[in-house]
């Protein structure tokens, strides 16, 4: 299996590093015998929306945790917005402008929905936070439950709140881990529109998604992972035409 991540544009490799907001090189991390990251190398360009796909257990969420500093890498380099962040504490990486969602909603259970949003802005983005929280509640149709405890939300509502919290942060790169899974189609559309609007403001995205329809609609470029490494990357159509990738996907329970 080829392990090269082929940049889709023809620009020289030396230059790419500077216009990439995120560059991951040879990242390794194992859990016991499981090589969750087994030499991951990839890049996300500025203002790019990159999709990250791959079968269950291929290491997508682990890659997010490694980039965000939630999990420390065994080895490898991660450069984010000009800073070398591999091994750095999660809160310092966040303060450099990185935001991520958790695949399993990481709610502040005993706080209200509004407080969850405000907490996301409590460090460094406080100015106008109350107004932004109100807007976010309206955007995601969470107003009726604004004063409910987060642990009392439905699974889909928790997914929305997870997304709402990254919207509250003023980030330059947002990592979304299956943020629309289990969300009603109408709200899913709202999330996609919100992503498009944030990108217009210059924010880059790396999005884990199993829904190929969504991947096709929002992502500029697809990165495919399998068994802890990047298999290939490129435009959606090229990836779909690549039979090896589709093979990878056939193993996935649908």
């Amino acid at each position: 299996m080829a392990s090269t991540s082929s940049p889709q544009s023809g620009s020289a490799p030396e230059n790419r590093a500077s216009d990439a907001i995120l560059a991951v090189r040879d990242l390794y991390r194992h859990f016991g015998g499981i090589k969750a990251a087994n030499g991951v190398t990839l890049e996300v360009g500025r203002r790019e929306i990159a999709g990250l796909i791959g079968p269950n257990g291929s290491g997508k969420s682990t890659l997010f945790s490694l980039v965000a500093g939630t999990v420390k890498p065994d080895s490898g380099q991660i450069s984010f917005d000009g800073h070398e962040i591999a091994g750095m504490n999660a809160h310092r990486i966040a303060r450099l402008g990185l935001a991520r969602t958790f695949q399993i909603p990481a709610m502040f259970d005993n706080m209200t929905v509004t407080e969850n949003l405000l907490a996301a802005a409590a460090q460094g983005h406080w100015h106008g936070a109350k107004e932004r929280a109100a807007e976010t509640l309206a955007l995601l149709k969470l107003e009726p439950v604004a004063e409910n405890r987060a642990s009392d939300l439905s699974g889909g509502q928790q997914k929305l709140l997870e997304f709402g919290r990254v919207v509250m942060r003023q980030a330059s790169l947002i990592l979304l881990d299956e943020v629309t899974a289990g969300v009603h189609p109408n709200i899913r559309k709202i999330i996609l529109e919100a992503i498009a609007r944030l990108r217009e403001r210059g924010i880059s995205f790396l999005i884990i998604e199993h829904d190929m329809e969504m991947v096709r609609n929002v992502c500029d470029r697809i990165i495919v992972m399998d068994a802890g490494r990047v298999v290939t990357s490129g435009a959606f159509e090229d990836i779909v035409r690549n039979s090896e990738v589709m093979q990878t996907y056939l193993g996935r329970p649908q």
Binding site: S61, S65, A68, G69, T70, V71, N89, A90, H91, A94, R95, A99, R100, F102, Q103, I104, A106, M107, F108, D109, N110, M111, E115, L118, A119, A120, A122, Q123, G124, W126, R149, S151, D152, R165, R169, D177
Partner: protein, 328 residues
Amino acid sequence: MKSRWAGLIIPVAIVVVLALMPTFVNNYWLRIATGALMWAGLACSWNMLGGYAGYINFGQSAFFGLGAYTTALLMGDPINLPFFVTIPAGIAVTAICAVVVGGPTLRLRGAYFAIATWAFAEALTQFANVMNFTGGIGGLNLPPFLNERFFYYTMVGAAVLTYLITWALFEHSRFGLKVKALRDHEAAAEAMGINTSLVKLQTFVLSAVTASVFGAIFAYWVTFINPKSVFGGDITDQMVVMVLLGGLGSLRGPAIGGVGLFVINRLIWMHWGDTAFYIAILGAAIVLVVLFLPDGIAGLFTRRSTKSGTVLDKAVGKLVGGGEGGRG
């Protein structure tokens, strides 16, 4: 609008009652009121870290005792400082100790912190027992000042201040949002840029320092302290039960639990001349709270669900590990 004024009625009534208390009760009951305020304040101090941050401190008596011993040493011969000067000194000593104990351990799982605080209180007890300058097992005497009203009003001031600080800092500020966020999901709080180790340490220092102020007032009030009376583990035990009964992580709960349990303690003492029965009540209270009232008495008055992930769940989760983790 209307409810805002209604919300002020109870606090104003409480302040009026507290201010006028000495005019309608005798000295005996005034002492009980003073003690009730002290325990309410101590319960609030424990709740700052235990309730809002979810880190269980099994050695809070260490800081109560540090405040008491600092005041006793500085007011006694040969230093003879005035009482109010000794309080900041106790605060400084306590803050340094809290940083030394909490700095390394608050980064780890809650169990390490719980053991470290417990061991610190035990070590201080033994230290005070054997050292000469602390008076050993015999303890220390302070210059007697027999003015019940002075101690009552000093305790009112400390308790009200503690309550207001809790209200402002933990319920109405960004800092409180950060503390509660790390209690409920540490990894998510970090991912939002919150320096959880620092916020925990700040909360711990505030909690410890608050207990030390009550220790200082207590020492001057009772004019005699020894290692057991100010470092004893039963002091921490009482705070924990008062907070659990009143409502872990709530604003009013610890005050209610502190006043309630202390008054019950005194009533039992008056009727039976012994408080063994009180210990049984404490034990029963803990069991009942854990089983049926995870949000304590305060939880009875607020619309809170017990569906999952209560504050008690979070604190126990930090203690025994498991729970959130870095996955997902």
